[in-house]
Symmetry: C2
């Protein structure tokens, strides 16, 4: 029987996993920022996670999840994203509302529950933000994906994910009818601010900033 971790431990593991993706080396202060806690609290938890074999930790230097820690992270991410899918697909929550509720639901620790939920939802591959859902073994099905900011001019692509999950950005994109699955291409790139003019099939071209373009992941066709 795999050990169970506290809600706090799970949130730390998930945040460390997230920061590792973005930027290999994780620092105490970055994690403190991300978890809205003070660095002193982080250090304490790092020692606890290391003692439990979830973390490889060099005091005063950096740290990263161990193999076991990574496995745990993927289980939590699986729970989070399956619940998000459920909330949108079955309960008619909107895109922007689900994150907060899923943040709580993800801590209900029952493998049977999650595997049955997965089956009930017909084994979805992506959550409502386009992020991939790990399978029951923690495996993620990767697909070619890059930020819209790096898509070549006039190349067709499909939106697969929106990285930043702030309500503001999601609402903005919704208002432009830009959702997961939308097909688009870049018509022009303004050199001086790297903003993009993008065009969806039959729709008018719209302008988006470099920051927004970086947060949108696409799959070139």
């Amino acid at each position: 029987m795999p050990p169970n971790y506290s809600v706090s431990e799970e949130n730390y593991i998930k945040s460390i996993h997230y920061l590792q993706q973005v930027n290999e080396a994780v620092s105490t202060s970055a994690l403190a920022e991300h978890l809205n806690a003070k660095p002193a609290s982080i250090t304490e938890m790092l020692k606890k996670l290391q003692a439990k074999g979830l973390l490889l930790y060099n005091p005063y230097k950096t740290f990263r999840l161990s193999k076991e820690g990574n496995k745990v992270a993927l289980i939590i991410i699986r729970r989070h994203r399956l619940w998000e899918f459920f909330l949108v697909d079955k309960l008619q929550f909107s895109w922007e509302e689900v994150h907060e509720v899923a943040e709580e639901l993800e801590h209900v620790r029952s493998k049977k529950l999650i595997d049955k939920l997965d089956a009930f939802l017909s084994y979805p591959k992506f959550d409502p933000h386009g992020d991939p859902i790990p399978d029951a073994n923690g495996k993620i099905n990767i697909q070619q994906q890059l930020p819209l900011s790096r898509l070549p001019l006039n190349k067709q692509a499909v939106i697969t994910a929106v990285q930043d999950q702030s309500s503001e950005l999601l609402s903005f994109l919704s208002s432009l009818n830009i959702v997961i699955g939308t097909r688009l291409e870049i018509k022009r790139r303004l050199a001086f601010d790297n903003s993009l003019e993008i065009k969806c099939r039959n729709k008018q071209a719209v302008n988006i900033s470099e920051q927004v373009a970086k947060a949108i992941q696409v799959n070139p066709l």
Copy 2:
């Protein structure tokens, strides 16, 4: 915005509510037993709940939920029973398995989540054990109900609930094909141990003990 209560506080409130149903006056030791905690811990929490206006408490005597405390209890019970219904009806959990998982899910505090779940499930009136589900205002639709042990001889009745939710009892009843909705009558009552001989439509009569009969709630026709 209604205040939020901790998981521990919610479990105390729910247990006090439960013990009040069974036996008006609640004692520290009974609650300690029910919550698997020591009496000293109970006293501490009683003071906290009283300070928050959820409990009417006379030290060294008894206590009961205040009006507000009762309202909170019904919200938690609503969450618990809706999740149980969801687990059985949508995720194909069996009767006996749901309680433990619902015990965790009931603490996800989002009114919107529960009200949308209720709608998704088409506003069920009873949970899988036959217990009534309070509506969004905490109202319970009552129906005439009494323990099978008090049903008169040869009077037809429908099973509406099973009080005790231990896995053992539920499995036992399942094996006898006794479920919520089963119609039955009592053919004989053995005076020396109060065991009952019960008969379901077209089926062979079976014997059940007084304890089991007390745990089964029925609605006389």
